[in-house]
């Protein structure tokens, strides 16, 4: 794309004003590249731009949103991504199959295990690996723990973006317990790097099991009591109800997945829709809500925590014996082919499309992240709401910028 010289004419009053004062307007210094950009960066009567981010207290990472405001009302918005872009897909193409998993791990740092699971699943398909059943159970167990940790963090962030100071710290306590637990299982607190092609790295240990048993005995009560702070709070409920509503058809057109789609009433969960691992053997429900607003998305995640606890309970009871790792050569060279695998994460569908050309490195590795998909639907949800609601809507979709920017 050739970039033409800036078209700031000398008689454009706004440009000269900004030049003199050295204040940055978010208007880009080049001509609009697309129809949409031209439309967005043209101000209507009484409208103004405001630059939210990349350094803003509550953008969940380094996100920049250019808001077009009419007073306090949002008319339109343009999210600008790329501040956290690391080129993970390119990195994965230059690493062998084991190393690629390390690169996908920090994509969405709040729920790393799901970022490992999707590529691992795809590579196992490429290599026709049969994963031992115990490894599958351990995977389900640890990833459901991670889902709870992620949802707990979401509940806190949601409240923080609405101005509540306390829930974020309570939910961090919750998350910290789980993360410590997973650390004793995997070795790290945040970037676990636990799933390997053909199984998991290391069996369950005593430290993990004792912590898990201790936590499971009080988890339900603990989570419920923490959530009682806001679930009935009039201020909170009034702000969230009817905010950022999206209907089923639109959600499908926006290719949304996960809790955000289920909050509109579609019981689409890849664990049931396209089962992988041992999920067909486990009993759990897919909670749905029909409203499709921020409150529904918030409450739905609470219901999901309960279902995850159910799954963990079943995993603990049905855990088979056996190895946790399939017998595999260290250097993997799958035959040429393509594989696609998707897992249901706390934010929706994490999937990986891997192409092998017969060498020990993936020829192409596409990583699909739900945060990226959901973030673009704020463009539909926000217009018409107030500036105070932008952060609430964004928080209710629960995007993690590490995943959005890859």
């Amino acid at each position: 794309m050739p970039i033409e010289p800036a078209h700031q004419s000398a008689d454009d009053p706004r440009v000269t004003l900004d030049r003199e004062l050295g204040v940055f307007e978010p208007v880009p210094p080049y001509p609009p590249r697309t129809e949409r950009e031209a439309e967005f960066y043209t101000l209507g009567d009484g409208e103004m731009f405001i630059n939210m981010g990349p350094q803003h207290p509550s953008t969940h990472g380094v996100l920049r949103v250019v808001l077009k405001l009419d007073g306090e009302k949002v008319v339109d918005l343009d999210p600008v991504l790329g501040y956290l872009h690391r080129g993970v897909e390119k990195l994965c193409e230059n690493a062998d199959y084991h190393q690629a998993i390390c690169y996908t791990d920090p994509l969405e740092y709040v729920s790393s295990l799901f970022n490992e699971w999707a590529p691992v699943l795809a590579f196992e398909k490429l290599m026709d690996v049969q994963v031992p059943r115990r490894a599958e159970y351990i995977r389900v167990l640890s990833s459901e723990l991670n889902r709870i940790a992620s949802h707990a963090l979401f509940l806190g962030w949601m409240a923080l973006d609405l101005g509540g100071l306390t829930p974020i710290l309570w939910s961090f306590i919750e998350r910290d317990e789980i993360v410590d637990m997973l650390a004793s299982l995997t070795g790290q607190r945040m970037l676990f790097n636990y799933f390997r092609i053909g199984g998991v790295n290391g069996d369950l240990n005593h430290d993990f099991m004792s912590r898990l048993g201790d936590w499971m005995s009080r988890a339900t009560v603990q989570i419920e009591s923490g959530n009682a702070l806001l679930n009935e709070n009039e201020i909170f409920v009034r702000r969230m109800r009817g905010l950022g509503t999206i209907d089923t058809a639109t959600a499908l057109r926006m290719v949304m997945t996960g809790p955000n789609l289920r909050a509109t009433g579609v019981p689409f969960d890849i664990r049931r829709a396209h089962p992988y691992s041992v999920f067909p053997e486990l009993e759990f429900d897919i909670p749905t809500r029909s409203e499709g607003d921020c409150l529904a998305r918030y409450l739905l995640r609470m219901d999901e925590i309960k279902q995850s606890l159910r799954i963990i309970d079943q995993c603990l009871h049905n855990m088979p014996d056996g190895p946790v790792m399939a017998k595999l050569p260290r250097l993997m060279r799958p035959r040429p082919g393509r594989a696609y695998a998707a897992v249901e994460g706390p934010r929706g569908q994490y999937s990986t499309y891997a192409i092998s050309d017969g060498t020990d490195q993936p020829f192409r590795m596409r990583i699909h992240d739900p945060s990226f998909i959901h973030l673009q639907s704020v463009g539909l949800m926000m217009p018409g709401h107030l500036i105070a609601d932008t952060m609430a809507i964004m928080a209710s979709l629960d995007p993690i910028m590490g995943g959005v920017d890859k």
């Binding site: 004062l21 409240a159 609405l162 100071l165 309570w170 806001l230 702000r239 107030l386 500036i387 105070a388």
Partner: protein, 449 residues
Amino acid sequence: MTVVGRSWNRLTVPGKLIFAGLPILLVMTVGLIVAVILLGGPVLDVLSDNVPILRFVVAITAILLITIPTAFLIIYMEMKIIALMNLRIGPDRVGPGGSLLSVVHGLKVLMKEDFTPTGADPIVFTWAPVVTYLAAVMTLLVIPFAPGFFGQDLNIGLLYFFAIGGLSVVGLLMAGWSSYNKYSLLGGLRAAAQVISYEIPLTLSVVGVILLAGTLSLNQIVLNQGGWFSNWYVFQQPLGFLIFFIAATAEANRTPFDLTEADSEIVAGFATEYSGMRFGFFFFAEYVNVFIISALTVTLFMGGWNAPFPWPWDITLALDPGQLGVMLLILVAVVPLILTVAFAAPLWMISARIKGWQALLGGFVLANLFVVAVIGAVAYVGLDWVAGLLWFLGKTYAFVFLFVWMRGTLPRVRIDQLMDFAWKWLLPVSLLNLFVTAAAIVIVDSVKS
């Protein structure tokens, strides 16, 4: 070289300074004595003729000075209480229990660079924090802290309070406008809309109290609530109290109405571009505001400095230390020793790990505390204003705790909900409250007469 010269050379620098300064000091002292002898009479005459002016100057100085520790204390309370509610420890490094952390914050704010952003209006930008701070502080002038402890007993005290308190929005608006930042502008305009909207229910809810008290003087309102706690206006004006409390929260920009500096929405609102001590003024003004709002609530509805029950025994402590004579000296010399040993003995016996000197140190501290407690108790019983001040501060800080507690619990409301609440709910309800109060007074009066 003379002897004097050699001696002078041997002196260190402080020594030289003292030797050079001594004659000057001597001259100054003598001059002062002469001046007092010559001019003392006329000056005292002038002062005694203008006691109200003297009182005003002293009062305003004292009030300006007490706002600083008050703000420090409330900032510390906020940090610590919210931390404890969050299941954290909170500040615990600077001073005992971290209590000096807010002082350190104040020093940090003083030392930071203080700059004006490009494009800002420098004069307005500089004066905005001053206006906000002074508007907050000046309202303290009419608050009665204790019997006889008030800056000025204005007969239009309440009116003065609302008039000066309303000035703070000018400061916020100035800050928002002059910063040349859209976030600041949004914050300033939000502040203007919010404060002006909530002034109306705030004032209307107080009118009921004014009707009952029949005066605008805050001191008189407090005096009217004396006796048992059932005389407090909160029991005659519960609805008015509720409206006043909510509106006052909004007026002080506290959670859940802290929209002007909603950090998750508009960064820091009007204060976005401020740094250094200018920001410190806003910061102090906010917390002084919390104190003032609590104090006014206590004054209007909670009986001010009145104890919830009248002191049941009429004790006059006719203790004259002069009677003891030489015994007083012995008492002063011996009693601390006895008390120290008396408090140290159980400490020493309680555990083998506590060494003798540690026990003595602990005993000394405990003895001092005991003496302070005894003196306090005597002062409480014997001195009216000590009792009043204790009750007043106790009630006020209970309300400050309530504000902090609310901040630790509640999320923020949205600007349109805030406006709806003010105009559609609080205003009609406060009018209703006013109507009912007036009707009740008329009925009671007609029944009585």
